[in-house]
């Protein structure tokens, strides 16, 4: 029985690799170096919901039906996010990082893997309150076109605002979060003035290249889904986007410790995973 188990595991893994490969060849979305166990769980979830007989059927369906691929894309995206997620991180930005930026005539920020945008609007609010927003340009990118559309809209279910408000207060918010949105039939719509200096665009960290030099890269809770090889590749993108003294912010469970680019950064606020690009002498 054990032997059968091992063999069917092997076969299943082969089928999943073929599916991932088919999606890459046909659509260019490259999940080949995402964390294997994670990709497998998500694909098997979809498989169980699909009612198909085997994973090979999913390959056929993916090649023939773009909608099905969009679904898989969603499954693999994990778009879970919130405003002021990890309030202590935003507090550190406000109290320790922004003072460093005060002297800059112009500030450029890249939110990579911004999902539906909550994190980006949090940043905009923070910068407004600290008087930095007017001279800031934010690039907010994600590879998932559906989620980027939602980010652009900036409309969130009203029932989430309570949780977001608590985060905002913990992050040292100076007013009330409700100052920044209007209510419309059960939804909260973030104010247009927050969007003024934000550009939302699709960008794939795996297959696209650097597009601008920025002072601050924020890429939180994205790298955890990548294997070490891919993490290294993406961190190289960030290295190439940041000048000396530029800042990189990762998610609370991510770190550069195992990266081959570790030596290019110094930890600035280790607890909040904020790193500074080293000055080369």
């Amino acid at each position: 029985m054990k032997k059968n188990q091992n063999e069917s595991l092997e076969n299943q893994d082969i089928e999943i690799r073929l599916l991932v490969d088919a999606i890459y060849q046909k659509y260019g979305y490259d999940f080949r170096n995402y964390s294997q166990a994670h990709v497998k769980r998500r694909i098997l979830n979809r498989f169980n919901l699909s009612g198909m007989k085997n994973i090979t059927d999913m390959i056929h369906e993916s090649l023939a039906n773009r909608k099905f691929v969009d679904q898989i894309l969603m499954d693999l995206s994990i778009t879970v996010t919130e405003m002021f997620r990890d309030p202590a991180f935003y507090k550190a930005l406000r109290e320790e990082i922004f003072p460093l930026l005060q002297s800059y005539p112009f500030i450029k920020i890249w939110h990579a893997g911004c999902s539906s945008g909550e994190e980006v609007y949090s940043m905009a609010i923070l910068m407004k309150e600290e008087g930095l927003y007017e001279r800031t340009q934010i690039y907010a990118t994600d590879f998932n076109p559906v989620i980027i559309k939602q980010a652009k809209d900036g409309v969130y279910p009203l029932n989430r605002m309570k949780e977001f408000s608590v985060n905002y207060q913990k992050a040292g918010g100076k007013g009330s979060l409700s100052d920044y949105y209007t209510i419309n039939s059960g939804d909260a719509k973030l104010l247009e003035i927050l969007k003024k200096n934000i550009v939302f665009a699709t960008h794939n960290l795996v297959t696209d290249s650097v597009f601008a030099e920025v002072n601050l890269v924020i890429c939180r809770n994205v790298l955890i889904y990548f294997d070490r090889y891919l993490q290294d590749r993406v961190i190289k993108l960030f290295v190439d986007s940041l000048p000396e003294g530029g800042l990189l912010c990762l998610g609370s469970k991510e770190n550069l410790q195992f990266s081959s680019h570790y030596h290019e950064f110094n930890p600035l606020i280790p607890k909040e995973k904020i790193y500074i690009r080293k000055y080369l002498l």
Binding site: Q36, I78, I224
Partner: protein, 192 residues
Amino acid sequence: MTYRKQYKAVVAGASAGGLNALKTLFRGLDEQFDLPVIIVQHISPNAENYLIHILNEFHKLKVREADEKEVPQNGFAYLAPPNYHLLIEPDHTFTLTIDERVNYARPSIDVLFETAAEAYKDQLIGIILTGANNDGSKGLKKIKEFGGMAIVQDPETAEVDSMPKAAIQTTVVDYILNVEEIAALLNKLARG
């Protein structure tokens, strides 16, 4: 049979009442116990990881939070961080994810056990301790299917018996023991 030690890792899942059970388990382990112990204890999403501090006082095993991409080392125990699922990759490294809850839980015991079963196959020991739901049952079944060992805390001795009971109903487990006996058995298995 060879004399090579069969087991490479231990996974354990606990929910309500878990702290006491884990303390007892750790207290019972040999000083030289050296298999990595990987643990999911259900815990509130915002909890500071006080569990780590407490458990560190109970044994020479060094207890810490599992980091992504880390390879489990002998002589260490790892706890899944609050609000993240902990997965084991085929190369045995840890992956952390925030996809949706499983059995209302994140971290979920099933997620750890199912991925660990595939990664360690017959070299894995799985343990279900006290708890108030049925998380871990499916995972323990999978560990058995891949030839690993399944151990469940005797429901009679558990602070909350639903989780051990559910596990016993789902799988023909190898041992049903109180926590002190589980520790003694682990010592024996680790010695090989």
